[in-house]
């Protein structure tokens, strides 16, 4: 789960990390009022959960009320990389002499947290990492002990941060790690951490992503979760609790287990078709989930045919078959042809139950995919 910039900054500020004066605004008037109250220059920043907002015109620096109004009018309501902007953060523009980067994330490969510091802040840090890996000082943290103060100092000095602000930057990094650990962060970043002419440091941007699996013990953060302003189908998938990704093709794909669903996509491609989506209904899928999954895929106007591929472990083939029958029975006319392949636990029972008036049944994955690709070609609109 991603926090918005304004949410992350609140969390950081509460923990003692300096952040600029700022106010959230949902209307142009409120934005102008906020700008007047804070004093110019201010930045007007779209609150959408995507990177590269600046380049896309989602951040504007303004010097007076007129400019503030113009910027707020431009940004509020704009479409930013597919996200609708309905809030802006109006924020004191900080006068800086230097931009740093500090971040904490989980290093999967090492199985332990890593804290990072760079003097190349204010730009895309992933580009810096790719071009000049040594420009980022990395310090792995023992998750049992937590980050020790010396580790923060070491990272800061290794990165070449000026000695005058090194102590403060180390303090911010320590706080950031502690927050990351306490709040079940997946990533926590400040980019840029600005250094002012007075040698003060201030978090000019804030990223905080939370491990979705840990939200049960982070009730305050869970409350910050907002309806995703995403693609309607992806929002729907979220409501249904599916892992879903929409793609550009016309063969709808439903299956259980991420690896098998990806393999089904790959096979569609292998046999000359184009996948319309990734949809994993997960383990132990019962009738209702099957119905919801079919609803999802039928709702996608790009889809011309569907392959439904289940290999039962926890999931039982008979239950899936039952679900498919029920779901399709509910239609006066079934909108797309559906190819079903069941294997594993109770697969044979399932095959027997399936109503072949409603679906095409195939015994192997390869056959099922090929058949669906054929149907999609035939029924292509």
């Amino acid at each position: 789960m991603k926090l918005h910039e304004y949410q992350a900054k609140r969390v950081f500020a509460e923990a003692g990390i300096p952040t600029p004066d700022a106010e959230l605004a949902e209307t142009v008037d409120a934005a102008v009022d906020a700008a007047e109250a804070i004093g110019y220059p201010v930045a007007i920043k779209a609150q959408v959960q995507v990177g590269g907002r600046g380049k896309a015109g989602g951040i504007k620096l303004v010097d007076d009320a007129e400019e503030a109004r113009e910027a707020a009018e431009d940004i509020l309501g704009m479409d930013l990389k597919g996200y609708h902007v309905d809030r802006v953060l109006v924020e004191e523009a900080v006068d800086f002499t230097n931009e740093l980067y500090v971040g904490v994330t989980m290093d999967r490969g090492e199985g332990k947290p890593v804290a990072m510091v760079s003097t190349r802040g204010g730009v895309d840090i992933e580009e810096v990492a790719a071009e000049d890996p040594d420009a980022i000082a990395r310090e792995h943290v023992d998750p049992a002990f937590g980050m020790q103060p010396y580790q923060a100092r070491k990272a800061v000095y290794d990165a070449g941060v000026d000695r005058k602000v090194a102590n403060d930057v180390a303090g911010v990094l320590t706080t950031l790690y502690d927050l990351w650990a306490a709040k079940d962060g997946s990533d926590a970043e400040i980019n840029p951490l600005m250094v002012t002419a007075d040698d003060e440091v201030i978090a000019a941007d804030a990223v905080m992503n939370i491990d979705g699996d840990a939200l049960f013990r982070q009730p305050e953060l869970a409350e910050m979760q907002e309806e995703a302003a995403e693609d309607d189908l992806e929002a729907k998938a979220n409501d249904y609790g599916f892992d879903y990704v929409r793609l550009d093709g016309n063969v709808g794909i439903i299956g259980n287990g991420a690896g098998l669903v990806m393999t089904t996509l790959d096979l569609v491609d292998h046999y000359g078709g184009e996948p319309a989506n990734f949809l994993d209904i997960g383990g132990g899928a019962k009738a209702e989930r099957v119905t919801n999954a079919l609803d999802m895929v039928f709702s996608d106007e790009n889809v011309d045919a569907v392959v439904f591929n289940i290999f039962g472990g926890i999931t039982r083939g008979d239950e899936v078959a039952q679900g498919i029958n029920e779901a399709l029975d509910a239609f006066d006319e079934i909108p797309k042809r559906v190819v079903v392949r069941l294997a594993g636990t109770k697969a044979e029972e399932g095959m027997e139950i399936l109503n072949t008036d409603l679906v095409t049944v195939e015994k192997t994955l390869e056959d099922a995919v090929q058949r669906a690709v054929e149907y999609a070609e035939e029924d292509s609109q």
């Binding site: 023992d142 049960f216 013990r217 990704v245 690896g259 669903v261 393999t263 990734f278 294997a343």
Partner: protein, 289 residues
């Protein structure tokens, strides 16, 4: 022979009184697994499917000589269950639970490094030595005994590949579902090392997927250390970069490594043929044996 699981494996099921725990205990028993105990705090003295339940894993291990644990405990308590099993200690912990917070697993992983225990998972289907025992939720009927070792990050994909193997008469020594979470215990290299040391494993199938660098590292390991031939499969060739496909692991960063192609290239460079489809995987194995 086999790896991790054999005739001497004596299993304690953590969370045996829950719905999944109970169902899969019955399934494991039916398959012939020697499930000797359950462990659920406060439920000591009860029985599930004829198996005695203890309040702690330590007591289960002591009273019933359990040497392996399977974890069916809900995500909020699963890391603690893993710590308990590591401390008992048992030789093998198979953590089925999906959705364990990553920071919890980071701590379990840290503790694991100080032990001699193998932890498989979490978020995995388990381990099976066909005809002998299964620990987890794998559907026993698709497996058959033979000379192919299998290691996979994905559950149902494992079943698919095994199904293709079994239907060709290519049985398995042991199949290990290592799980798709960001932090797991036994990884590809650990599993490959076990299979390399097992004289009865004549070929290994390794099923990977997009995301992370584990397959690339495994390829380097194969090239440098393995005599046993390996056949690869990589799911997610058609996945668009930057999108997360279900598993926390299955995300492509778009930076060159972590993509299906980089993994396939790495394996092929290590002399490991990679199948385009599960059928082709079986073809390659057949060619080798």
């Amino acid at each position: 022979m086999s790896v991790l699981v054999d005739e001497d494996t004596r299993v304690v099921v953590q969370g045996i009184t829950g719905g999944e725990g109970k169902f899969h205990t019955e399934q494991m028993l039916e398959y012939g697994t020697n499930v000797v105990a359950g462990a659920v705090p406060g439920k000591g003295g009860q029985e599930v499917a004829g198996v005695p339940v203890y309040d702690t894993v330590h007591r289960a291990a002591r009273e019933e000589d359990a040497n392996a644990a399977v974890v069916f405990v809900p995500p909020a308590f699963a890391a603690d269950a893993c710590f308990e099993a590591l401390d008992a200690p048992v030789d093998l912990v198979v953590a089925i639970t999906e959705g364990i917070p990553t920071q919890d697993m980071s701590k379990v992983y840290r503790k694991l490094q100080e032990t001699d225990t193998h932890l498989v998972g979490p978020n995995c289907p388990g381990v099976i030595t066909p005809g002998v025992a299964k620990l987890g939720i794998l559907p026993g009927n698709i497996f058959s005994s033979g000379n192919v070792g299998l290691v996979s990050r994905s559950g149902t994909l494992t079943y698919q590949v095994v199904d293709n193997l079994t239907k060709r008469g290519l049985g398995q020594t042991t199949a290990i579902g290592i799980g798709g979470d960001p932090i797991i215990g036994t990884d590809f290299i650990d599993a490959l090392e076990l299979f390399e040391a097992d004289p009865d494993t004549h070929a290994v199938v390794m099923c990977g997927e997009i995301g992370g660098e584990d397959e690339e590292e495994a390829a380097r390991y194969i090239g440098a250390n393995m005599d046993t031939p390996v056949v690869g499969f990589i799911a997610g060739r058609t996945a668009p970069p930057g999108k997360r496909m279900g598993h926390a692991g299955a995300i492509v960063s778009g930076s060159g490594t972590g993509t299906a192609q980089s993994k396939i290239d790495a394996l092929e460079n290590a002399g490991t043929p990679v199948g385009n489809t599960p059928e082709e995987v079986a073809d390659h194995v057949e060619d080798i044996l």
